[in-house]
C-alpha cells in the first residue's frame, strides 16, 4: 500500500474530526451512589444520642441497599465526628458540601452545633434534616432547606403544660431550671406560658446545678404551696438530689419536665429506688408502652425488625433508633419521588409530606412550616420505667 501525502492529510483530518465529536456520556448520574452526609458527635461527652441514632441510620441504609437501593442507586453514608464541638461541626459541614459533594445532610444532633451549621447549609441550599430543639433553627424564610423531625422546645413545653393543667389538674406550680443559657431561657418561656394559661407560678428559680444541698429550694417550694414542680435542666445530679430531698421531706409532689428526668444515670444517684417515683419525663407516644406493656402496633413491628437485625435497644432510647431510620427513609423517598438527587427536588418533596407515617411519628411539612413532628405525639412517661429504650405512659393518658 502506497502512503500518499493526500492520504495522510485526509486520514489526519478524519481522525481529528472524529475526536472532536463527543462520545455519549455514560449514565453516571443514574447509577452513582446517593451520598448522605452525617454530622454526629460519635465521640466525646455528647455521644449517647449518636450511638442510638446511628443504629437506626445504619439499619435503614442496610435495609434499603439490601433491597436494591433507591431506583437502583445505593445509599452511601459520609459520617463525620463533630465531638459535640460547633467549630468541628462547621468544618465538617463545609467539607461534606464542597469536597464530598453530598446530596443531603442529617444532623448535627445538638442545638449548639446546629446553630453554627444551619446558615452554612442554607447558603449551599443542601437539604438538611435534624432533631435539634432550639426554636430559631427552623425558619422557612432564612433556612428553607432545614427540616426538624423531632419536637421543638415549645412543643415540649406545650406537652408539659398540658399534662400539669389538664391531666394532673394542678394550678400552683414551681418552675425551676439550672443556671445555663438553656435553663434560664426554658424557665422564662415555661413561666410565661403557664401564666398565659391562667396557672399560678408560685415559685420560679434557676438553681446552680453544682449546689450540694437542694433543701433550701425544696423548702421554699413547699412553703409556697407548690402542687407540681416543672423541671428544665439536663443535670441529672441536680434532679437526683431534689428527688432525695423530696423523700426526706415526706413530700409527694410530682416532678414533670425535661427528658433527662428519665436518664438511666439517676438510678445510681437516688438514695432509694422509690425516690424516683412520681416523676414524669417528656416522652413520645410511639415509644411508650401501655398498662399491658404493649407499644403501638407500628413500634411493635419496628422492635421485631430490630430484634431480628440484632440491633440492641437495652442501652439506648427507641426514639433515637426510630428517628434515625425515619430520616434515611425520608431522604430515600424524596429522591425516589423527585427522580434525582437534585436538592430542590428533595426539598420540594419534603414540603409536600402530610402525616407521613414514620416509626417515630407522623411527619408533616409545608413550604411555610418545617417543624414536622406532631405535638400530640409528645406525652409524659413514668421516668423510672425504662425498658429497652421505651417507657411506661404516665398516668392519665387514655
Amino acid at each position: 500500500m502506497v502512503i500518499s501525502r493526500r492520504g495522510v492529510l485526509f486520514g489526519s483530518a478524519g481522525a481529528l474530526g472524529a475526536a472532536s465529536f463527543s462520545f455519549p456520556a455514560p449514565a453516571i448520574a443514574g447509577s452513582e451512589p446517593i451520598r448522605i452526609g452525617c454530622l454526629a458527635a460519635i465521640t466525646g461527652p455528647a455521644s449517647a444520642p449518636t450511638q442510638g441514632f446511628n443504629r437506626g441510620v445504619n439499619f435503614a441504609v442496610d435495609a434499603i441497599n439490601g433491597a436494591g437501593g433507591v431506583k437502583g442507586r445505593k445509599i452511601e453514608l459520609v459520617m463525620r465526628d463533630t465531638q459535640g464541638d460547633p467549630s468541628k461541626a462547621v468544618n465538617a459541614t463545609q467539607e461534606l458540601i464542597s469536597q464530598q459533594k453530598v446530596h443531603a445532610i442529617w444532623g448535627p444532633l445538638n442545638s449548639g452545633e446546629a446553630l453554627a451549621t444551619t446558615p452554612i447549609m442554607a447558603r449551599a441550599k443542601i437539604p438538611n434534616i435534624h432533631p435539634c430543639v432550639v426554636e430559631t433553627l427552623i425558619d422557612t424564610s432564612k433556612f428553607p432547606n432545614a427540616f426538624r423531625m423531632a419536637p421543638s422546645n415549645s412543643q415540649w413545653d406545650d406537652a408539659v403544660r398540658n399534662y400539669c393543667l389538664n391531666i394532673l389538674k394542678v394550678r400552683k406550680l414551681a418552675v425551676i431550671g439550672d443556671t445555663t443559657g438553656y435553663g434560664v431561657t426554658a424557665v422564662g418561656a415555661s413561666v410565661a406560658a403557664f401564666k398565659k394559661d391562667g396557672a399560678e407560678v408560685v415559685y420560679q428559680a434557676n438553681i446552680d446545678a453544682t449546689q450540694p444541698d437542694m433543701t433550701p429550694d425544696m423548702l421554699r417550694m413547699k412553703n409556697a404551696g407548690t402542687e407540681a414542680i416543672v423541671v428544665w435542666t439536663v443535670s441529672t445530679g441536680m434532679e437526683a438530689l431534689m428527688f432525695n430531698v423530696r423523700a426526706a421531706m415526706n413530700w409527694d409532689v410530682p416532678f414533670v419536665g425535661h427528658p433527662s428526668l428519665s436518664s438511666g444515670e439517676i438510678a445510681g444517684l437516688v438514695e432509694k429506688p422509690e425516690n424516683w417515683k412520681k416523676v414524669y419525663a417528656i416522652g413520645y407516644k410511639s415509644c411508650s408502652y401501655d398498662g399491658s406493656g404493649k407499644l403501638p402496633p407500628r413500634s411493635e413491628e419496628l422492635v421485631a425488625r430490630l430484634t431480628k437485625g440484632n440491633i440492641a435497644l437495652n442501652d439506648t432510647l427507641l426514639w433515637w433508633v426510630a428517628g434515625g431510620i425515619d430520616v434515611i427513609e425520608l431522604f430515600a423517598k424524596a429522591i425516589e419521588v423527585s427522580g434525582s438527587t437534585d436538592a430542590q427536588g428533595i426539598i420540594a418533596h419534603l414540603n409536600t409530606l402530610n402525616k407521613y407515617p414514620g416509626y417515630f411519628g407522623d411527619y408533616t411539612f409545608t413550604p411555610a412550616q418545617h417543624n414536622g413532628y406532631p405535638t400530640d405525639e409528645v406525652v409524659m412517661s413514668e421516668a423510672s420505667t425504662a425498658k429497652n429504650g421505651t417507657f411506661a405512659l404516665a398516668p392519665g393518658y387514655s
Binding site: 428559680a205 446552680d208 449546689q211 450540694p212 433550701p216 429550694d217 444515670e265 445510681g268
Partner: protein, 285 residues
C-alpha cells in the same frame, strides 16, 4: 431550717477549708498559688467512686489508692507547672501554667469519667437526716487532717523542714535542707489533702468533673479571707463561708446566694486586704 443550715453549711465549709489548706500547702514551699487545688479535690471524689463503686474495692483500699493517685497528680503538677516557672515568680507565670494543668485535669476527667455526676458510695452507713454521714464526714475529715498537719509540723523533722522552707527558702537551703525534694513532698501532701477533701465530701458533692472549678473558686475564698499561707485562717474562713453560703441559700436562694457570698468576700477584702488572720508583711527597702 437552722439545723439544716448548720449541717450542710459546716459540711461544705469543711470541704472548702480543706481545699484552702491544699492551696496553702503548695504555696508554703513554692510561693506559688497552684490552681489545681480544686481539681485535686474533684479527683478525690472521682477516684473514690471509681475504686469503690466501679471496681468494687473495699472502702479502705479505695481510700488509700485515691490518696496515692492524688499525691501523684500533685507531684506531676510540681514537675510540669511549678518548677519551670519558679525562676520568674515575679511574672506570675504560675497562674497560666497551673490553670493550664487544672484545665487539662478537668477535660481528661470529663472525657474519661463522663460529664454527668456519678454516684458515690455510702462509706460507713451511719446517721440520717441532719446527722447523715454525708454532713459530718467532711467535718471529721477536716478536723483529723488539721490534727495530722499540726503533728507533722510540730513533732516531726520533715514537718519542721517544711516550716523552715516556708519561713525562709534561702536560709533553709543554706542550712543544707533538700529544698527541691521537700517541695515535691509538699505537693504530694497537698494532693493527699485534696484527695481527703474530695473523698470525704463525695456523698455530698457526688463524683462530678465540674466540682473542680467550683472547689477551685470556693476553696480560694477561705485562703483570701484567712490570709495566704495561714491554715487556721483557711479553716475558719472555709467554715464561715459554708455557713454563710447555706444561710444565703435559704434566705435568698438560687444564683442570688452566690452574689451574696461574693459581695461579703469583696467587703471583707476591702476592710482587711491581708485577710482576717494574715498580718501585714514587712517589705525590705
Amino acid at each position: 431550717m437552722l439545723a439544716s443550715i448548720i449541717a450542710a453549711g459546716l459540711a461544705s465549709g469543711a470541704i472548702y477549708a480543706l481545699v484552702g489548706v491544699t492551696y496553702n500547702t503548695m504555696f508554703s514551699t513554692s510561693r506559688v498559688m497552684s490552681f489545681t487545688a480544686g481539681q485535686l479535690a474533684m479527683l478525690g471524689g472521682v477516684f473514690g467512686s471509681m475504686f469503690t463503686l466501679k471496681l468494687g474495692m473495699p472502702v479502705v483500699a479505695g481510700f488509700l489508692l485515691t490518696l496515692v493517685c492524688c499525691a501523684i497528680i500533685g507531684i506531676i503538677t510540681e514537675f510540669i507547672a511549678v518548677r519551670p516557672v519558679l525562676k520568674s515568680l515575679d511574672q506570675h507565670l504560675y497562674v497560666l501554667s497551673t490553670l493550664a494543668v487544672a484545665l487539662m485535669i478537668q477535660q481528661v476527667a470529663a472525657i474519661k469519667w463522663g460529664t454527668e455526676p456519678q454516684p458515690f458510695p455510702r462509706l460507713i452507713g451511719l446517721g440520717s437526716g441532719i446527722w447523715d454521714e454525708k454532713f459530718w464526714l467532711p467535718v471529721v475529715a477536716c478536723a483529723l487532717t488539721i490534727l495530722g498537719l499540726e503533728y507533722l509540723y510540730r513533732r516531726t523533722l520533715v514537718g519542721r523542714a517544711f516550716l523552715a522552707i516556708a519561713e525562709d527558702n534561702f536560709a533553709a537551703r543554706a542550712l543544707g535542707l533538700p529544698e527541691r525534694n521537700l517541695r515535691i513532698a509538699s505537693y504530694a501532701l497537698a494532693g493527699i489533702i485534696g484527695g481527703i477533701a474530695g473523698f470525704s465530701g463525695g456523698e455530698l458533692l457526688l463524683a462530678f468533673f465540674a466540682n473542680g472549678a467550683l472547689l477551685n473558686f470556693y476553696g480560694f475564698v477561705p485562703v483570701a479571707l484567712g490570709g495566704l499561707g495561714n491554715n487556721r485562717g483557711a479553716i475558719v474562713g472555709g467554715l464561715a463561708l459554708g455557713l454563710f453560703q447555706q444561710a444565703a441559700n435559704f434566705l435568698v436562694g438560687g444564683i442570688f446566694s452566690s452574689v451574696a457570698v461574693f459581695t461579703l468576700f469583696i467587703v471583707v477584702l476591702l476592710a482587711a486586704p491581708q485577710g482576717l488572720f494574715g498580718g501585714a508583711s514587712a517589705r525590705r527597702v
